[in-house]
Subunit: 259 residues, 2 copies
Amino acid sequence: MSDIKDIIKQTLLLGRLDDECIRVFADKAQRIKTNKGQVLFIHEDEAESFFIVVKGWVKLFRETLDGTQAVVDILTTGHVFGETSIFEDGLYPYSAEVAEKGEIVSIPISLLKSEIEQNPKLSMAMLTSMARYRKQQDQELEHRTIQNASQRIGCFLLRLADQGASGPVVIHLPYDKTLVASRLGMQPETFSRALGKLKQATGIYVKGATIEMDSLDQLVNYSCAACSSEFPCKDIAANTCSKDSGSTDSGTAKKCLNA
Amino acid sequence: MSDIKDIIKQTLLLGRLDDECIRVFADKAQRIKTNKGQVLFIHEDEAESFFIVVKGWVKLFRETLDGTQAVVDILTTGHVFGETSIFEDGLYPYSAEVAEKGEIVSIPISLLKSEIEQNPKLSMAMLTSMARYRKQQDQELEHRTIQNASQRIGCFLLRLADQGASGPVVIHLPYDKTLVASRLGMQPETFSRALGKLKQATGIYVKGATIEMDSLDQLVNYSCAACSSEFPCKDIAANTCSKDSGSTDSGTAKKCLNA
DNA sequence: CGAGGGTTTGAAGTGCATCAAATAGTGTGG
DNA sequence: CCACACTATTTGATGCACTTCAAACCCTCG
């Protein structure tokens, strides 16, 4: 069982703080086992905590009165959520539900709020993490506008893949096709059919949640034509703390002790 | 002719800084007249400046190689753009073009970058402004997922209106219908037809760019049903510095000297 | 083995896009 | 002040993409 501190160090938001500061968060943190379907909080609830995913998947979404829902994001290990409530009058800007059982860490939002006002390093980290999120959302919006269902699937697959690879590639869908569909803003049926079309158009091989292909080229041709970014678009694994993190090369917050 | 300092004070990003700090920005700022169609910068250009709209309208967008474009946002007086390039490896994350002639102020991005690392008040302001933008984008994505064309138009109108009004209301479209259409992610033809449908469904009266109705109720009924937010959703006039600004009630950055 | 959820397939409908053309509106020069 | 040129907007006709509803299939797990 990894230490809470190690978990915190995996996040983009808190990972680069000094050990001392991390301990402050770790001390108030709480580990929670999660089960599929469990609702963690509801859109516009008063926010008491923010969370880190340790294991499993968490779905963020909003829904209308009649139950129609729009998936905001689907997160896993190292991702942080609920933290932006401090800029939303203390209310959660979406609902959160466990999509696949696992574990999360909960930390009082009040702590984040007070720390962020005192610790410039933290507010810079929050900026970096919001900037990354923003970039991701901008791209998502663009894709919804410009790409059709099959292209969005192709793009999604490319973002799962190692974009450096030049030979054959195997990709595993990280969660239910139904969930992928909602993540991409389409119906499960549409997903199924669109994947079929993608298969035909690019010659990828699909077996359950596993997808194989001779190279990424076909996919790139098919999907990236309808995108404003050039191919190796190495998608920002939103919110986790990885080697290159697109921070302001300020030198301010550079040490990241991650796995 | 208003002073550059006054213009800066209208922005959410820089409006709350102390006079001294504002002067630092004002000193390096440059006023530029803009004409319709003028391209201010291109997606992924090296960012040298960020901008404030003084007058007129500026369209932010991205486009694919074949010219298909996705409008990111359309900005006017007091709005800031290009500033997030500091978190994007120094590249602009979208293209910017003048949609209606006016004036902008340009400020070296390097100045923002250095100031933001030194001035916690500024980094908090940047956080606030990014949070607000994020909220807006989240909502946009939700609307694209859940609302149909007519509902999106209705919602757009509601956000233009004084949501407190209880009696008759008159709304003016701020720019071309074609531009509104693109802002809402639809074709001009679709916009025209969808507006017709909206007219029928809600009894609003449309004459050119002017829209009148007995009360907002009809519109609220029609559009807000397909939205996760409750009605008086007083949309954050993104990026401008208004009375209530959804900042962390930190007390840190509270004085706003706006018009 | 059977239940239940995930996934696929079929058939039909809806909404938006597209192409083409008419109409309204705006600004210009005569 | 009018006619022309040009642009914005509307309207019509048609097609495609995605959704919806219904049912079958498949797979996993108790």
